[in-house]
Structures are given as C-alpha cells and as structure tokens.
C-alpha cells in the first residue's frame, strides 16, 4: 500500500506544520534504521532545515519541478513523494521510489516533478535550468527549483548555470540552503563575498531569508516563483539555516570538533517546528503529530515488509531501451 501524495496539503499553516513534522519524524526514523543497520551506507539527515523545503514547495504547483541534493529527503517529501516508498528506497527494497536502485542520494519521483536528489554538489543547478528551458520550449508555465547548499556556491558549474538562466530569463529559482558548513568547512572561510552577491552579479534578484521560518521562506519563494512563472526570469534565495545532526550518519562515530555544542544549542532555539506550531490553534499540533506518528509507523511496516531485489536483476534499467550489457564473467 502506498500512501497518497502530501504536497497538496502545503496550502495551509496546518498542512505546512504537518509536513515539517513528517520530515522530522521521517529523518528520526531513518536515523534509527541506520543505527540498527537496516539502512546501509548512511544518510545525510535534513533535521533542522525542514522550513526551507516546506516553505519553498508550498510556493509550487504539482507540475513544477525540483532538483535536490545529497541531503534530499526533505525536498522529496515536501514535493509530495510518498514517505513509505522513500523509506523503502532507503532500505533498498523493490517498492522504493527508485526500486532500490538509487537509495538516499538519488531518490526521485518523476511523476511528481522530482528530478532526483544528486550525489554531486551543485549538479542539480544546471539540470533545473534545463528543465526550465524545456518548459518554456513546450509553452508550459512550469517553474523549476534547484536546491543546493552553501558548498555548491564554489562549484563553477553552478555559477555557469546562473549565467545561462539570467541570459535566457528562464523560470528557475535557485535555493541556497546555507547551513553554515560545507561538510566541516565553515562557509565563512570558503565563500568570498556573499551568496546573494554572487547571484546579483548575474542580474538575478537575490534575497536573504530566515531559513528557520517556514512562513518567511514561503513568502520569499512565492514572490520569486510568481515572477519566474510570469516570464520575469530566475530568482535566488539564500536561506540561512542549520543542520542539527552531523553532515552524515558516519559522523556520530567520528568525534569531530568542527562546531561547538553551544552553537548547536543556539540554533536549536530557532527550531522551525515550534515556530510553525505557534501559528496553529491550541491542540492541533499535537493531533497532527499523532497522525504523522501513525503514518510513519505504517510506512516503516510497509518498507520493512517490502521485498529485497533479486540479484539477477542488478543490471535492470541500465539502459532505457532494455539493452543488456555483457556479464562480468563468462566462466
């Protein structure tokens, strides 16, 4: 059983809160499953940054498209992917979004305009530009969003894609999730000038926004998306945010000291969930939390109960035309 897509729910504060909680709960569950060994290879948890995915996706229509990052679960869920099938993907099961062929870093659902999380920093930027170009060629008013982190600001291909988007006035929104660190390297020691300054240099309207505030992100994204959809060209948002967990799950074992406990505690004070809950009538957040718990319990049951793929089919889908490559041994 697959649960229905959730993106339509982002139109109300309650729907947005529920999605924040769903992403948070999903990541907590995924962390447990990494710890237990059920998920192999680890994940890059999105905990702390949920307001960015939810705020941006709340500004989108179902036919709009996104490209995501190695830290992609939040974007994928907020664009409407089924949590049970995403979890099954993380577990490498055939019922996963990608039939267990992609895992955490490549989760995609093309039927929802999710052109994939991506394992290469900055790679999604120009792909989103291509999707925006395509939509314009087809005469459709779809917008494309590229999510990326502060680390991607130093990838040349991303800056090249700013230029293409601006030159051709394409309907694309660049969303920089500045969580302060490119893995362990502080943005302050890696990014000359400023993030918004880089976009502005290409003539792209650029805004800095509190990335811990869902409504602020939604408002800024709505403005940029509306402009892009109306033919006004690309936009850029720098969402100042923070990841409460490590860069990836391996970090728990590594005892790294690139940021202080005080810094993490300070940012936890800005947790986007209580801020979004405060906008709701009394008692509603608790009800939504309970419904998310139920949904995730069902997702876990679905995912853990799903089939493992057959090793005989490891080369399925290597080619879209069904070409079967030679085997690695003839003996």
């Amino acid at each position: 059983m697959t649960s229905p897509a959730d993106s339509a729910g982002l139109g109300s504060p309650a729907g947005r809160y529920r999605m924040l909680r769903l992403i948070r709960g999903f990541e907590e569950l995924a962390l447990d499953l990494v710890r237990s060994g059920a998920i192999t290879g680890g994940i890059h948890p999105y905990i702390g940054q949920e307001a960015v995915a939810v705020g941006v996706c709340a500004a989108l229509r179902p036919q709009d498209r996104i490209t995501s990052t190695h830290r992609g679960h939040g974007h994928v869920l907020a664009k409407g992917a089924a949590p049970d099938r995403l979890l099954a993907e993380l577990l490498g099961r055939t019922s996963g979004l990608n039939q267990g062929r992609g895992g955490s870093m490549h989760a995609a659902d093309f039927s929802l305009g999710i052109l994939g999380a991506n394992g290469i920093v900055g790679a999604g930027g120009p792909i989103a530009v291509g999707a925006a170009w395509s939509a314009r060629q087809a005469g459709e008013d779809r917008v494309a969003v590229a999510f990326f982190g502060d680390g991607a600001l130093n990838q040349g291909v991303l800056l090249e894609s700013f230029n293409l988007a601006a030159m051709w006035q394409l309907p694309v929104l660049f969303v920089c999730e500045n969580n302060g660190y490119a893995t362990t390297l502080p943005a302050a020691t890696a990014v000359a000038g400023s993030a918004t300054g880089r976009a502005a240099a290409f003539g792209i309207p650029a805004a800095e926004v509190d990335g811990m505030d869902t409504e602020a992100v939604r408002s800024a994204a709505t403005e940029a998306v509306t402009r892009a959809r109306g033919g006004g060209g690309p936009g850029f948002l720098e969402c100042r945010t923070y990841r409460f967990e490590g860069h990836h799950t391996m970090e728990r074992l590594m005892k790294l000291h690139y940021r202080t406990a005080e810094e993490i505690a300070d940012w936890r004070e800005h947790d986007p969930l209580p801020r979004a809950a405060a906008l709701l009538p009394d008692g509603l957040a608790a009800k939504l939390d309970a419904s998310v718990r139920e949904q995730l319990a069902a997702a876990e049951q679905f995912a853990l109960g799903s089939e493992h793929p057959d090793p005989e089919r490891a080369l399925d889908h290597l080619y879209a035309d069904g070409l079967r490559p030679r085997a690695g041994s003839t003996a």
């Binding site: 498209r65 490209t67 996963g96 979004l97 990608n98 039939q99 267990g100 062929r101 992609g102 490549h106 995609a108 659902d109 093309f110 039927s111 052109l115 994939g116 991506n118 290469i120 790679a123 930027g125 120009p126 792909i127 989103a128 530009v129 291509g130 999707a131 925006a132 170009w133 395509s134 939509a135 060629q137 087809a138 494309a144 040349g156 291909v157 090249e160 894609s161 230029n163 293409l164 030159m167 080369l315 399925d316 889908h317 290597l318 080619y319 879209a320 035309d321 070409l323 490559p325 030679r326 003839t330």
Partner: protein, 319 residues
Amino acid sequence: MRLSYTKALNRALTDALAEDPAVCVFGEDIGAGMAGPTLNLLDRFGPGRIVDTPLSEQAFTSMAIGAALTGRRPVIEFQIPSLLFLVFEQLVNQAHKFSLMTGGQTGVPLTCLVPGSGSRDGWAGQHSDHPYSLFAHAGMKTVVPATPTDAYGLLRSAIADPDPVIVFAPAAALPVRETVTWELAPIPLGCARIHREGTDVTVVAVGHLVHDALAVAEELAPEISVEVFDPRTLHPFDWPALAASLERTGRLVVIDDSNRSCGIGAEVLATAAEEMRLVAPPRRITRPDGTVLPFAPQLDRALQPHRDQLRRALRAVMK
C-alpha cells in the same frame, strides 16, 4: 548525389529536427555553423531550437540533460574532442546513470556529436584526442562512423535513441565523400559493417582507419585475403558479427586510434582470445600508452596508427 561526411551530418540533423519538434541543438558557434554540421540550421529552425551557448560546457551539457529529462531530445555539438574531458562528470556521472539510479523512471535521450575528433593535423596536445574508448568503457553508447552514409544513419539512430549516445566524427574521415545512389536512412546502433570480405585475416578498423585498412587490404590482395570489419558502434559492440568473421578467418588485427592500454583494441583482443576462434596470436595497432600528440606534423603522425604498422601486423599474423 555526391555526399560529404560533414554534409551527411548536416542532413541527419536537418531531417531529425524536421521530423521531431522535441529535437534541439546546443553548442558553441552552431548558429554560424562553424564546425559544419549545423550550417543553416538556425535560419531554418530558429534560435528556440538551435541554441548558441556561451563557453560554459559543463552547464550547457547538464542543461541539455535537464531538457532531456523533461521531454526534449537535445543534441550537443562539441567543437573540440578534448572538451569531453570537461564534461565527463555530466555525461558519465549524470546522463549515463539516471536510468539505472531512478529505477527506470526516465531515459536521457541526449546525443553528443564531436565533429573533428582525433588529430586534425597541427592542433597539438589539447585539440587532438580521440577518447571514444573512455566513453565505451564507461558504458555510454559510443558510435564512430567511417563513411558519410554511416554518419547519416548512425546519427539519426543516436538522436532517436532513449539513452545518451556519443557520436565521434573523426577529423580524418571528414574529407571522405561518397556517390550516394540510395536513400539515406537510419542505421541501427550496435551493428557492424563488413566493408570487404576476406578469408585470411579480419582487420577490425575504427572510424577513419577503415579507409586505411581498405587501402592496405587492396594493396596486399595478391598475398593476403583481408576482411575489413568496421564495428561502427563501439558500445554496444557487435560481438556476434566479429565471432562470425573470425570463424571464417581465424586471424585478427585491430587498428584503433585509442591509447594502447584499456583502449577498445585491447577489449577486442581480449574478447576474441577468451571466446572466439583464433589460429594465430592477434595483433593491435594503437596510439602509444598515454599519448599526448606533439605539435610538429612529423611527431603528430608518428604517434598515430599508420599503414606500415598494419602491413607488418598482417604479415606477422600470417606467419
């Protein structure tokens, strides 16, 4: 009709653009048609489909991938073969991997055209590479047509294919002209062509080297009966056709403009040795290991496969 290789590429693009509105072309100086294959396309199809790009190979390659993921059928022209090294990530790590990584949710119908691959005489180290083996090794469908008719037919099939395909048009094949009395038509990928039948030795020749192989075969006809086998597509390679040829000849020489180690020539020899009939040790003629083509014409030519080497190899396998 007299058809040049470049004109054949131009015809293939024109016909594909006319037939399918999803086809579009990206590249540098393609509006002016500087490399030849895109001549007059801008006038006929307009800037919406013939997109002159800034010098941002990585971004426009990925942009074409994004377009391919969302319903377009883009062709990218790369003016210089070595530009492929800039976009190895985009082609191999993104375009090639999307189908499998998404569990078959999408193909990436992208064609990369490299008119003027290999040495162009006098363009030196960074304009003279012939990296088709790299792409075949990585698993991208890889095509190296030798003749105008094949260039037309294989480019048409590449554009129609649901997967990324890279088409190398060797600089040394561009001057080839054919008198075409037949209807130009798509030629399926993965099908070899035997240009000349023979009974003593199979010469597997790649791209422009097909013409060298044919010349040497004619010249040596009184002493050796040479079959000239043009794989046309390096990945997927037409192994059954090679096996059938070696059933007839039992001897194998490969002439291949790749660097020696891990080149397609090495793969042909290895596969033949493992799986096919050979009555004599096979030979291959390639560029040296790790070649960088030097500028001076004598040095440039000295490192490319040449006819003397082929003559010697043919006589060696007959001993």
